[in-house]
Symmetry: C2
Subunit: 318 residues, 2 copies
């Protein structure tokens, strides 16, 4: 059996785990990073934590084939250089993969968190056995990863799959990216809550107060209320699904994928969003590609980052 290390590097802390070639996690642990260390020292620390997990696993070191690192920062997956790290400016410009493989002697690969999630689902989740998939993460932001002919497709400047910034309305909400009507502004976490609040403030009845999430109205609270029958919550999630579906229709026509896999925190609303998304996609997409595509929830859940990061090593070393 071959094994692969995955590092889900989230900014100030990281999860490190090892999967076997079937995608099962054999060990995992999490560590805190000190952002005040120098870039080189942070890399050294990541390498030490990784070595610890490898040691703890008791696996023969030669069966551990390589290391994949996923992070939400801006990076170059071809060179392995982190350009803009999230929350850790000392890592900006650091050649992460070289630093790691110099210390640990294992081939190391770096990519962004959304591509990572796509790879995880492709190898070990809802995309297993398929060739062409699009993966979307719905959370604070909306991101996408594209796998075509079994390979991650990154585009000319590594931004392919920037689905959160597809504009759904030329006169729409302005987005911090500088444009108008970006999908993320509607179906990202804030967009969903905003849509809910607009209706609530207009006086629509809702029993959301029984389902608050740590005292707050969040997509999770809205989904819980909707599942309990709250009409306003159901209506809001249905509208979110319709907006998502209209963008998916364009993707279906453009890429004719076998599956569109929806992950991220917001996707826990499940069929409350996916049902209307599917209906709208079917209504708006060309029938031939619409008939072949399945729109499904991501399967890897909380371990998506870990399994996905390890999958990056699988993809590069298979």
């Amino acid at each position: 059996m071959k094994y692969y290390v995955g590092i889900d590097f989230g900014g100030t802390n990281m999860k490190i785990g090892i999967i076997n070639e079937k995608g099962l996690i054999v060990i995992k642990n999490s560590f805190v990073t000190d952002p005040n260390k120098s870039g080189d020292d942070i890399i050294k620390h990541i390498a030490e934590c990784t070595q610890k997990v490898m040691d703890d696993s008791k696996l023969p070191q030669e069966d551990i084939m390589g290391i994949g690192i996923g992070t939400p920062g801006l990076l170059n997956p071809e060179t392995g250089v982190l350009k803009v790290a999230v929350n850790i400016p000392n890592l900006n410009g650091i050649h992460v993969t070289k630093g790691m493989s110099d210390i640990l002697g294992k081939p190391t690969f770096l990519d962004n968190d959304v591509n990572i999630m796509s790879l995880g689902e492709f190898y070990y989740g809802a995309g297993k056995g398929l060739k062409h998939i699009v993966a979307l993460t719905l959370g604070t932001g909306v991101g996408g990863g594209i796998i075509l002919n079994g390979e991650l497709y990154r585009g000319a400047s590594f931004t392919a799959g920037e689905l959160g910034h597809i504009s759904i309305s030329r006169d729409g909400k302005s987005c911090p990216c500088g444009n108008s009507g970006c999908l993320e502004r509607y179906i990202g976490r804030d967009g969903i809550v905003e849509r809910f609040m607009v209706s609530k403030n207009k006086g629509f009845e809702t029993n959301i107060d029984n389902y608050l999430d740590d005292g707050e109205i969040t997509p999770k609270a809205i989904a819980m209320a909707a599942n309990a029958g709250d009409t306003l919550s159901k209506k809001v999630l249905e509208e979110i699904g319709e907006i998502l579906g209209s963008v998916l229709a364009g993707l279906v026509n453009t890429l004719n994928p076998e599956a569109i896999i929806i992950g991220g925190g917001v996707s826990n609303a499940g069929e409350l969003i996916l049902g209307p998304a599917r209906t709208t996609m079917n209504k708006l997409a060309y029938s031939i590609p619409a008939e072949v595509v399945k729109i499904v929830k991501a399967e890897l859940g909380n371990d998506a980052g870990l399994v996905g990061s390890a999958s990056l090593a699988v993809a590069n070393l298979k």
Copy 2:
């Protein structure tokens, strides 16, 4: 020097030509097909015409590497079977590539006219030297071909690039495909003329009558009038460009291509459409991919079908 045969099979007639490996046409001819013949006899006739062109070229037969056939019908590029031929029902279900290679002894490949055009532009036109391009044909219909990592991307059921049926409005014009708001209904030939007529009938001034195309108002006539300063014609083409640009923005975000290449009859309006398309794309697309992409007119013109078909052989035999 190696040579490749291209067959631009348009329904009742076909152009057959030979290009060299630099994409230059060394000979071409056109022939009429009799749709009343049996499928096998039509294939025999295409093969005879092809042999005639090869003989007339005086090239050493062994330097002619293979044959590419492009046609607007519905087909399977992997098997080489034409499923629904345009205007020639007797060809439906015929294994075109096998029939041709059995007779001529050359490897033969089949694909649809839009993919063909993309390949031609990729190897010998506006996409030369690039890796990731999207090609659009604007004419009666609107079609698209996608080349990623230097390879034609066809999708799960060979319909990738169905850009003409991307819906730009859920409540938009109904389309014969069964959906609403398809791009083709707005920026296809009829959509352009319809948009012009609506304004003209409202009483907007225009001197289009000085530029009629065989007595008719066509996109060509509108472009000529616009080039001569006609305000209404300019406004209509600007709106067409803006609609096109809004869809291109989504493509740019999704695929992060190096170039989007616009061909087909309507593209002869050139900057009258491409200018506003570029401006709108820049306004709506995410800045990183928007900065790298160029939106340009196709270069192969009237020979696009011929050079493109031959390019299909190049792509498969390179």
